[in-house]
C-alpha cells in the first residue's frame, strides 16, 4: 500500500495541471511545492498563451489573473544606432478566446494551484523534495522531503520541478547537462501609471503589447523582451550562459544598455524598479530533452526541457501546462490498468507526440541554434538594418539605388558569405515556413 496514488513535485504550471487531471480522474494526489506558496519561486518574461486550458477550465479568461490581453506584437531588430520593427496588431486578440496575456507568475501559478486543490489534490507548501525513493528494481516508489519523517510513497511520481530538475537527473534520465543548452533570463519590473503605458504603447483599456528584441544584448548572444502589464513594464534579456561569462558583461549592465537604446529609452523612461529577478531557461529543445518516462516516474515542463525558446518564440508556460496535463492523465491510466512501469505510463509519450508539445519542437528543431548563432546575432541585424536605412534614405541628387544592389553591397559590407546566408535562410525557411 502506498501513502497516495500520485505525488506531483513542483507547484508551477506543469505541476498544477498534472495535479488537476490526476485528481479529476479520481486519484489521491499530493502536490508538493518548496516555496511558501505556488509561484513564489517563479519568474518569466511575461506572456502566457492559455488556449490549452480551454478543456481544463472552461471560460478560464473570466477568472484568470490576467494583466493585459496582448493585441499588439512586435519584433524589433536593434543595432547600436538603428531599429527595425515589424509590428502587428489584431483586435480579435482582445476578445474571447484571446491569444496571449501578460500575467505575473506568482498570481498565475497560485491561481492554477487553486484549481488543483479544488479538484481534490492536497497542496503541501514550504517543503523541498530532496530525492527519490526507489525499489530494488530501480522503480520510483516515492519521494524524500526535508520535513521530519518526510518520506512519502506513491504509485507514480510526476517530476515538475523546473529547469534544474534534480529528480530527472537523479533518475538518470539526462545523459548530461551542458551549460551551452541554457540561457539566463534577467528582468526588471518597472512601475509606471496606466495612462502613461497606454499612451507610450498606443493601446487602450486592458490591451497590451509584446515586444521581442534581437540585438541590444551588448554583444552577448541572446535576446530581449519588453511587455506591458497593467501598471508595470517587464523588460529583460535572455543571455547564452557560455557567452555571458566569457564576455565579462554583467546581466544587469546588459539590461541597462538595452534600456538606454534610443528606441527603448523613451518607452521605459521614469519607470521605477519594483523588482529585479532572474531564472534559467532550457534553451535547446529537442537537442537536450531527456527521457521523460521511467518505472513509476514521469517528467513534465521545464524539468523535461519542454520550453520552446526559439528566438521570436518564448513559450514555456503553455508547454508546461500541456505536458503536465498529459502526465496526470497518463498516470491515471497506468494506475487504473495496474501497470506502473514505463510501459504502463507510455500514454504520456503518445500524448506528447500527437500534440503541439512535440510537434512544435520537431518543427523548430534547428531554430534555437540558428537564432543564437553568431551570424544571426552579430552580422545579420546590422546588414538588415543597413538595407532598411538605405531603402528609406533620400540621397538626392543621387538617384535611388535598386534593392538588389543594396542587398549585395550590404551583404558584402557586413562580411556575410553568400553561402552562409543561403544555408541559414534555408534552415530558417524549413523551421519557420
Amino acid at each position: 500500500m502506498t501513502d497516495v496514488d500520485v505525488i506531483v513535485v513542483g507547484g508551477g504550471p506543469a505541476g498544477s495541471c498534472a495535479a488537476i487531471t490526476a485528481a479529476r480522474a479520481g486519484l489521491d494526489v499530493v502536490l508538493i511545492e518548496r516555496g511558501p506558496f505556488p509561484g513564489s519561486k517563479n519568474m518569466y518574461g511575461g506572456v502566457v498563451y492559455p488556449r490549452i486550458l480551454d478543456g481544463l477550465i472552461p471560460n478560464w479568461w473570466e477568472e484568470a489573473p490576467v494583466q493585459r490581453w496582448v493585441t499588439r506584437r512586435s519584433t524589433m531588430l536593434l543595432t547600436p544606432t538603428q531599429a527595425l520593427t515589424v509590428d502587428f496588431r489584431s483586435q480579435a486578440w482582445g476578445a474571447p478566446p484571446y491569444n496571449g496575456a501578460t500575467a505575473y507568475r506568482p498570481d498565475w501559478d497560485h491561481w492554477l494551484a487553486g484549481h488543483a486543490e479544488a479538484a481534490g489534490a492536497q497542496l503541501i507548501t514550504s517543503t523541498v523534495v530532496t530525492g527519490l525513493l526507489r525499489a530494488p528494481s530501480g522503480a520510483v516508489t516515492g519521494v524524500r522531503t526535508d520535513r521530519p519523517d518526510g518520506d512519502l510513497t506513491a504509485k507514480v511520481v510526476i517530476a515538475c520541478d523546473g529547469v534544474n530538475s534534480f529528480l530527472a537527473k537523479e533518475a538518470g534520465l539526462y545523459e548530461h547537462t551542458d551549460a551551452k543548452h541554457f540561457t539566463l533570463g534577467v528582468k526588471e519590473t518597472l512601475a509606471l501609471p496606466k495612462e502613461v503605458i497606454d499612451e507610450r504603447f498606443a493601446v487602450r483599456d486592458n490591451h497590451g503589447v509584446d515586444i521581442e528584441i534581437l540585438g541590444g544584448t551588448g554583444g552577448v548572444n541572446g535576446g530581449g523582451f519588453l511587455y506591458t502589464n497593467l501598471e508595470t513594464l517587464a523588460i529583460g534579456v535572455v543571455l547564452k550562459l557560455t557567452k555571458l561569462g566569457a564576455q565579462k558583461a554583467r546581466p544587469e549592465e546588459i539590461i541597462a544598455g538595452l534600456k538606454r537604446h534610443p528606441a527603448i529609452a523613451p518607452l521605459v523612461q521614469d519607470g521605477e524598479l519594483k523588482e529585479y529577478s532572474a531564472h534559467v531557461i532550457p534553451e535547446a529543445g529537442l537537442t537536450m530533452m531527456p527521457k521523460m518516462i521511467a518505472d513509476g516516474l514521469l517528467v513534465a515542463g521545464d524539468a523535461a526541457a519542454l520550453c520552446l525558446a526559439a528566438g521570436i518564440w518564448l513559450e514555456g508556460v503553455n508547454f508546461a501546462m500541456a505536458s503536465g496535463m498529459y502526465a496526470g492523465e497518463a498516470a491515471a491510466e497506468a494506475v487504473r490498468a495496474g501497470d506502473l512501469t514505463a510501459v504502463g505510463l507510455a500514454g504520456y509519450q503518445r500524448r506528447l507526440s500527437d500534440t503541439f508539445v512535440l510537434k512544435d519542437h520537431r518543427r523548430l528543431k534547428r531554430a534555437p541554434e540558428l537564432v543564437l548563432s553568431d551570424r544571426v546575432q552579430h552580422l545579420y541585424p546590422q546588414m538588415i538594418a543597413n538595407v532598411a536605412e538605405r531603402m528609406f534614405r533620400v540621397d538626392n541628387p543621387d538617384p535611388k539605388p535598386g534593392l538588389r544592389r543594396i542587398l549585395a553591397q550590404e551583404r558584402k559590407r557586413a562580411g556575410v558569405r553568400r553561402r552562409d546566408l543561403a544555408r541559414d535562410g534555408w534552415i530558417g525557411f524549413r523551421s519557420f515556413g
Binding site: 519561486k41 523541498v128 534544474n164 550562459l241 541597462a256 534559467v280
Partner: protein, 108 residues
C-alpha cells in the same frame, strides 16, 4: 556588502542611479542561516575563468585580493547559473534552501 567589495565593477550610474544593493532590495529573501550553496575556495584559487563572478545575476561571488572567492548565499535567486557555468568539479555544492525559505517573488 559594499559595491566595491562586489568586484568594483558595479558603478551605480550603469543602471540609472540605483546601487546594486538597492536593486537587490527590490526582491524578497527569507533567509535561512544554513547556506544552500557552498563554494570551496580551495578549488577556486587556481580558476582562471571566474565565470561565476560575471554571470551570477545577484553578484554573490566576490573575488578577494588574495585570489580567492567569497560567497554569500543570502540574496540568491536559486537560478542555477553558477553551477552551470562553473566547470570545476567540487567548487560548488548546490541545493535549494530549506522549504519556505529563500527568494520569494511577490503576488500582486
Amino acid at each position: 556588502m559594499s559595491d566595491t567589495a562586489r568586484g568594483g565593477m558595479l558603478e551605480p550610474h550603469a543602471w540609472g542611479g540605483l546601487s546594486f544593493q538597492e536593486r537587490m532590495a527590490t526582491a524578497e529573501f527569507r533567509i535561512h542561516h544554513t547556506p544552500h550553496i557552498v563554494v570551496d575556495g580551495r578549488v577556486c584559487a587556481d580558476c582562471s575563468t571566474r565565470e561565476c563572478v560575471v554571470a551570477c545575476p545577484a553578484a554573490l561571488f566576490v573575488p578577494t585580493a588574495e585570489g580567492g572567492i567569497v560567497f554569500n548565499h543570502e540574496q540568491c535567486f536559486e537560478c542555477g547559473t553558477c553551477y552551470l557555468v562553473c566547470n570545476r568539479e567540487g567548487a560548488i555544492t548546490w541545493s535549494y534552501p530549506e522549504g519556505g525559505h529563500g527568494v520569494v517573488f511577490r503576488r500582486t
